[in-house]
């Protein structure tokens, strides 16, 4: 038997990556592509998608799809277009998300529903669609949802975000049980604070002292998008073949206290 030299090899596999125009999604797309995968990259930011596509010239095919993932009924047709363009899917990595610091007294129904739609309901619809025999390639199936330490630990102003991520973790556990017989693994990654455009936007609400206080909650400092992309690759590839229904914490020690 030939053993692949690279246990993270994804040659010949097709992954759909959401939120791929920036941050964790962008780093994930770049790494999975370097590992040999064909990609369908999805984001609302069309210019960002084009920039990532230009960066990924050579190697496996990369197809951009501009989509608003809060439009849940649009996700199944989106996945259909991805399969038509790039073949059946081996995996989905849902990195797209909304993070907003909104205290309970100013939290509005429309706001928390939008967060829940993108962070949680879109993930479920992606998982549901991926499980279809018309979509799934039939082997090496792996779904990775980017969750958050906020799904396990509270933080002021993160009520809706925490709700969406805790629900995501719970959904993934049950989904993993239903999809295991088809050979599709379902896992979450719970990052701490990672230096992304999302964090920069949130960080504008902080003064330097608050920023330092948040960073000090991480014994290893803020993370980089590549730290999360590396964990995604591990779960996406056969290195994660015996892991399903889990939440992998990648947080620089945030939850260790």
């Amino acid at each position: 038997m030939n053993t692949p030299l690279n246990p993270l090899d994804l040659s010949g596999r097709h992954f759909l990556v959401t939120g791929a125009s920036s941050g964790i999604g962008r780093s994930t797309a770049i790494l999975l592509h370097r590992l040999g995968a064909r990609l369908s990259i999805v984001d609302l930011d069309e210019a960002g998608l084009s920039a990532v596509q230009a960066e990924l010239r050579g190697g496996g095919q990369v197809e951009p799809h501009r989509t608003d993932l809060s439009d849940i009924p649009a996700i199944e047709p989106l996945v259909g277009r991805c399969v038509a363009a790039n073949g059946p899917l081996h995996g989905v990595v849902h990195c797209a998300g909304i993070q907003a610091i909104v205290p309970v007294r100013t939290l509005q129904v429309e706001g928390w529903r939008k967060i829940f739609a993108v962070n949680t309901e879109a993930a479920l619809m992606l998982g549901k669609t991926m499980s279809s025999r018309k979509v799934y390639a039939g082997e090496h199936g792996s779904i990775v949802f980017i969750s958050s330490v906020m799904g396990m630990a509270g933080s002021i102003g993160a009520i809706a975000y925490s709700m969406s991520k805790a629900a995501l973790d719970g959904m993934a556990r049950s989904l993993s049980l239903e999809l295991a017989p088809r050979g599709i693994r379902v896992n979450c990654i719970a990052p701490g604070f990672v230096q992304t455009p999302l964090l920069e936007r949130t960080g504008k609400l902080w003064d330097e002292g608050q920023r330092k206080a948040v960073e000090d909650l991480h014994p290893l400092g803020f993370g980089k998008p590549e730290d999360i992309a590396n964990a995604v690759a591990f779960l996406a590839a056969d290195t994660g073949r015996w892991i399903t229904g889990s939440v992998m914490v990648v947080d620089g020690g945030y939850l260790a206290r």
């Binding site: 279809s132 025999r133 018309k134 239903e178 017989p181």
Partner: protein, 73 residues
Amino acid sequence: MDEFLAEMAEILEEDTVNPRDELTSFESWDSLATLSVVAMADDKFGVNMSAQELQRAVTVEDLYQLITAKKAA
């Protein structure tokens, strides 16, 4: 019946299903499909079926008859 067939097609991951199709001929006819039919009978017909009751069905039409008979009872 048409709505039932559409629901069954979705559960069995087929474009269409016919009343006389045998359930075991579908690759997707498994324990989760049975659970889906139980949920569909409750949601669309207001009937509580058990997975054991559904095991008596051989064809798609048998399922429909089991559900509608229980609703009428």
